[in-house]
């Protein structure tokens, strides 16, 4: 089997969320995690990632800003948000400008996320 294992970068400022994401998805995907936007950008420099999933509300750089910055350099990656918020105008705008493909909700739904990554 030479099927390509998707490589996923998950960005969230809550360490528990990072660990749990890894535990849940490491069997199917290569999971890399980052606890902030800037950390995520550093990781993208050295790794070829297929999908980015990012929290929205983070201290240094919010999810939309992170995806927007990353997309300018890495246009082939698919970007998603995973957030506890109802959608906001900022998120709506990011989706309409095709920066972010979709906004997923917390608490997470494993099958929804798997589908998005494999898609």
């Amino acid at each position: 089997m030479t099927e390509h294992r998707p490589k996923v970068l998950y960005v969230d400022d809550e360490p528990i969320n990072l660990k749990l994401f890894e535990i849940n998805f490491r069997k199917k995907f290569d999971v890399i995690t980052a606890n902030s936007g800037p950390e995520g950008l550093r990781i993208l420099e050295n790794n070829s990632v297929d999908v980015v999933i990012s929290d929205m509300k983070m201290p240094e750089m919010n999810g939309v800003t992170f995806c927007e910055t990353a997309q300018k350099k890495y246009n082939h990656i698919r970007y998603y948000l995973l957030t506890g918020f109802d959608s906001t105008p900022e998120i709506e705008e990011a989706i309409s400008r095709s920066i972010v493909k979709k906004c997923l909700r917390k608490p997470f739904n494993k099958y929804e996320i798997e589908e998005v990554i494999q898609n």
């Binding site: 969320n17 749990l20 535990i23 849940n24 506890g84 109802d86 608490p107 997470f108 739904n109």
Partner: protein, 314 residues
């Protein structure tokens, strides 16, 4: 007759005639004078009448201007009241929205911990000898049920922070009412029995979800506040051809006949300061009108109040 006699008679007659003539001339001239005076008086009167008419006209005009001013003033005043009431209510809903959005975010994160852990544990047990253990299955299912229920409450709360102007959203009436009951839960518990007589299917209409939440929150809050000790609130929903009807009846203290007409006026309240601003129903009325619906109140003092809302489905 003698000549002298005749002369005498003639003189007498003549004298008489002359006297009469004099009297007549005098009378005539006096009449003329009177006539002249009358004419003058008449002219004077006409003049006065014209003046009066003019004054009258002016008074009338002033009156109209006054009336117009009054109408304009009272229109401006009611507009001012309306705007003020909208501002206060908007602010109230905004702070409720900010609060609930904040809570939603804070709670959804730890909920995510539980949900992810549940998923991880489920997988772990799937691959272990506990795969068929009923207790483990029950524990895991309960975890999931708890998360899902909490999350749906949180999503309901989020509805209150919506602030859009559209009236084309899909609004699930039963869900909206349930969201409001969730918010009021702590004041209803152990005191007010809620009886739901819902139409068996979902009722979906197109409208503004956030605003319809406000409507039912206002009406249910009034019903709850009208019940002094214990009582019931009955919520009925039904569908006819093109309309839906929602009635919310309480066994509270009712509304005085004299107040019934005023309850939708902005700032009309019988509640003590801090408990009511008198805005709930004026806002509610406006929202129902925006949705091309109707709202009526039926009340019997000391017995209770029934609020009936009709809304078009489309």
């Amino acid at each position: 007759m003698k000549n002298t006699d005749f002369e005498h008679l003639y003189n007498q007659l003549r004298e008489k005639y002359e006297r009469h003539e004099k009297i007549i001339v005098q009378a005539y001239s006096s009449l003329k004078k009177k006539e002249q005076q009358l004419k003058e008086i008449n002219a004077n009167l006409e003049c006065k009448q014209k003046e009066l008419e003019e004054i009258n006209n002016e008074l009338y005009k002033n009156n109209i201007i006054n009336q117009n001013n009054n109408i304009e003033l009272s229109r401006a005043l009611s507009q001012l009241k309306e705007t003020q009431s909208q501002l206060v209510q908007t602010e109230k809903m905004a702070s409720l929205g900010i609060l609930t959005a904040g809570i939603a975010h804070e709670i959804n994160n730890p909920l995510n911990f539980i949900m992810c852990s549940h998923t991880g544990l489920t997988e772990f047990f799937e691959n272990s000898s506990y795969k068929t253990d009923n207790h483990i299955k029950f524990l895991l299912d309960s975890l999931k049920e708890g998360v899902e229920r909490t999350s749906s409450i949180i999503n309901g709360l989020n509805e209150f922070s919506r602030n859009t102007e559209t009236t084309k959203e899909e609004c699930n009436i039963h869900k909206i009412i349930d969201n409001c009951l969730t918010i009021l839960q702590h004041t209803l518990k152990h005191r007010v029995i809620i009886e739901k007589q819902f139409y068996p299917d979902n009722i979906i209409i197109s409208g503004n979800s956030g605003k319809l939440h406000q409507v039912f929150l206002n009406i249910l809050t009034n019903a709850e506040q009208a019940i002094e000790n214990k009582g019931n609130i009955t919520i009925k929903t039904s569908i006819t051809n093109k309309n839906i009807t929602i009635t919310i009846a309480d066994t509270g203290k009712g509304i005085d006949k004299a107040h019934l007409k005023k309850i939708t006026d902005p700032f009309f309240t019988t509640k003590e300061p801090g408990k009511g601003t008198g805005l709930g129903l004026s806002i509610t009325y406006n929202i129902i009108k925006e949705h091309n619906g109707n709202i009526t109140f039926n009340s019997e003092p000391k017995m209770g109040t029934e609020v009936k809302i009709t809304l078009p489905i489309k």
